[in-house]
């Protein structure tokens, strides 16, 4: 997306048909609604605090945008908190959002790596063995219709009782969440070579390993990256939810939980923004890797 924006000539026509202006409009509209909503939701408390003294509308708006513990913090309050906890605090401090983001990120990445490995292995098995295709694939699909995240507290507590704490339980939850799109995508991808190509390999007397490495695997790479983009996003969700039952020690999920315990709404929103930034960055990294790999493999952009 970003590369396309760079390559395309920027002109009046681009502004008219491109995405920039509409997205800007929608974003501004969301911000405006947010500010209005902050006034709307915070006003009862603010008026309550005036204690029957006369007040003006201007005063009301100003006060509802600068409350200590607002029902809905105004965007600039969240930005301020974000700035304070990300850029003004040393990253080793427990008050730093970067520190918490790193805790979550490490669990996300470990879970993502494990999930990718498991997903690819399952897909290879399913494509090559009829029995796995028949027996396993329905259960892989069924496993997604059940709310996996519900077992997160159990996984964390049970693994904690056998001495596994910290990174591993969270990344196991991430792994469980993200292997599915990868398995499904890879099964599709490994089966995507058409019969003609497969028969061509056959006429060349290719071994199954050769068919796999020279035909099936390259054909599956685009599918793999499409799945990876989905998987990294839900891997992050898994890590965040996995942090909630551990008693709010560290991580984005813990920030959410402690914020909700102490009514620190600004902290919750800042953590949410951090989570969103992380999701955006992770997907951007995967997309960049996708472009790089596909170009290296000779795909035409």
């Amino acid at each position: 997306m970003a590369a396309a924006a760079v390559r395309a000539p920027v002109g009046a026509r681009q502004l008219h048909t491109g995405r920039f202006l509409p997205v800007l409009t929608v974003t501004l509209a969301i911000l405006a609604i947010w500010y209005l909503g902050a006034v709307w939701l915070n006003a009862p408390q603010v008026i309550d605090r005036y204690d029957d003294q006369p007040w003006t509308w201007q005063q009301l708006v100003q006060d509802s945008w600068s409350m200590e513990r607002p029902v809905l913090p105004a965007p600039h309050q969240v930005a301020e908190e974000f700035n304070k906890t990300v850029f003004q605090t040393a990253i080793t401090s427990k008050r730093s959002l970067v520190y918490h983001a790193w805790i979550t990120l490490s669990a996300t990445l470990l879970g993502f790596a494990l999930g990718t490995l498991l997903g690819i292995l399952l897909a290879v098995g399913i494509v090559h063995m009829r029995i796995l295709d028949r027996a396993l694939l329905p259960w892989v699909i069924a496993s997604q219709t059940i709310p996996i995240l519900a077992i997160a507290p159990m996984v964390v507590v049970v693994l904690g009782s056998v001495g596994l704490t910290g990174l591993v339980p969270k990344s196991l939850i991430s792994m469980y969440l993200c292997f599915f799109p990868i398995t499904i995508g890879m099964v599709k991808g490994l089966r995507s070579p058409d019969v003609l190509s497969l028969e061509l390999m056959h006429t060349w007397n290719a071994t199954p390993a050769q068919v796999f490495w020279k035909l099936r695997w390259p054909a599956a790479v685009p599918f793999l990256f499409a799945s990876l983009k989905v998987a990294i996003a839900i891997s992050l969700v898994g890590a965040i939810v996995g942090e909630m039952p551990t008693g709010a020690q560290a991580g984005i999920g813990a920030r959410l939980l402690s914020g909700s315990y102490y009514g620190q709404t600004v902290q919750i929103w800042a953590a949410l923004v951090m989570g969103s930034v992380m999701a955006g960055l992770l997907i951007a990294v995967v997309s960049a890797a996708e472009r790089f790999t596909l170009r290296a493999m000779g795909a035409r952009p």
Binding site: R19, P147, L149, L257, S260, A279
Partner: protein, 309 residues
């Protein structure tokens, strides 16, 4: 009956008998090395049984069932045989026992979470997403603006709004339904918009030559064409809704609900009750998915993916 099916069924019967005998053995008392050799040979039998069945068109449908039952059997035998503590992993029989003895509690939890929070939230979220997609359908400007935003939001860890919703709407089911609405809105919006753009120019031109109005084109051409996408969103959202409601319950509930049950019973190390609740949630999730898939089949019977090969 083909040879494969016959051999497969025969092996399955053998497997069933073997499993029955080993289950009796393992529950009767401690087992030795010979017992695990029997289990190992049963594993081989199970493999061949499934392999034979998978080669047959009718038998292939039995394979997933057999595989699931086999996993349950292994779980039971290993947990009981190696005397794994119940706080780590209860055997399926203990979970079944917990379901039977806590039926009333499980029903109350189910009603609180599924009937009161998930279903209304899912309906409202999907409905709002659908209506919004129809509203922005006539404005390409808004579509170009909202779609990237919607795609971005769909990838965000949106579950994090759960504590905020609990603060706004209180501990009861309203806050859970609100989380579900937010989680289901964007997938529906994005999918419906994508679905509405599925018709080709030649089809739209045909409607134009019939002098069909915008609404007529929408109802008789574009909405039916969008149905596969809409059902895709409905199915994704069914799972998302359940997850949203359960996780929101971790942030505070009245003392009922499946998410509440899971988090408190984990704290008290009553793992069999936790597994029983998870079993109920899994059942609710897969049944609603299956129901939606069934309705989808009826509504989009024309779609190429349902054609007989």
């Amino acid at each position: 009956m083909t040879r494969h099916l016959f051999t497969g069924l025969l092996l399955s019967l053998l497997l069933l008998a073997g499993c029955w005998w080993t289950l009796g053995q393992v529950h009767a008392g401690p087992v030795g090395g010979g017992f695990w050799l029997v289990i190992l040979s049963l594993l081989v039998v199970a493999w061949f049984a499934m392999d034979q069945l998978a080669a047959d068109a009718i038998g292939a449908r039995l394979v997933p069932v057999l595989f699931g039952a086999w996993i349950l059997f292994l779980w039971e035998v290993v947990v009981v045989g190696f005397q794994v503590p119940h706080v780590l992993l209860p055997p399926p029989s203990a979970i079944g026992q917990a379901i039977r003895s806590h039926l009333d509690m499980l029903r109350a939890d189910f009603v609180q979470t599924f009937v009161r929070a998930v279903v209304p939230g899912w309906l409202m979220g999907c409905g709002a997403g659908f209506v919004t997609a129809l509203l922005i359908d006539r404005s390409p400007f808004l579509q170009r603006g909202l779609l990237p935003v919607g795609n971005l939001v769909s990838a965000l860890p949106i579950i994090g709004v759960a504590p905020i919703m609990v603060m706004w709407f209180g501990f009861d089911w309203q806050s859970k339904a609100a989380v579900v609405v937010i989680m289901t809105f964007f997938p529906m919006l994005v999918n419906t918009t994508a679905g509405l753009s599925q018709t080709s120019a030649i089809e739209r031109d045909l409607m134009h030559s019939y002098a069909a109005s915008y609404v007529q084109t929408l109802v008789s051409l574009r909405l039916p064409a969008a149905m596969p996408f809409i059902f895709n969103a409905l199915k994704i959202n069914a799972t998302l809704a359940l997850i949203g409601a359960l996780v929101a319950e971790f942030f505070g509930t009245p003392i009922v609900g499946m998410g509440f049950r899971i988090s408190t019973e984990v704290g008290r190390m009553n793992l069999d009750v936790v597994w029983a609740t998870i079993a109920v949630a899994a059942l609710a999730g897969s049944l609603s998915y299956a129901l939606l898939a069934g309705i989808e089949r009826m509504v989009t019977f024309w779609h190429p993916s349902y054609r007989r090969r």
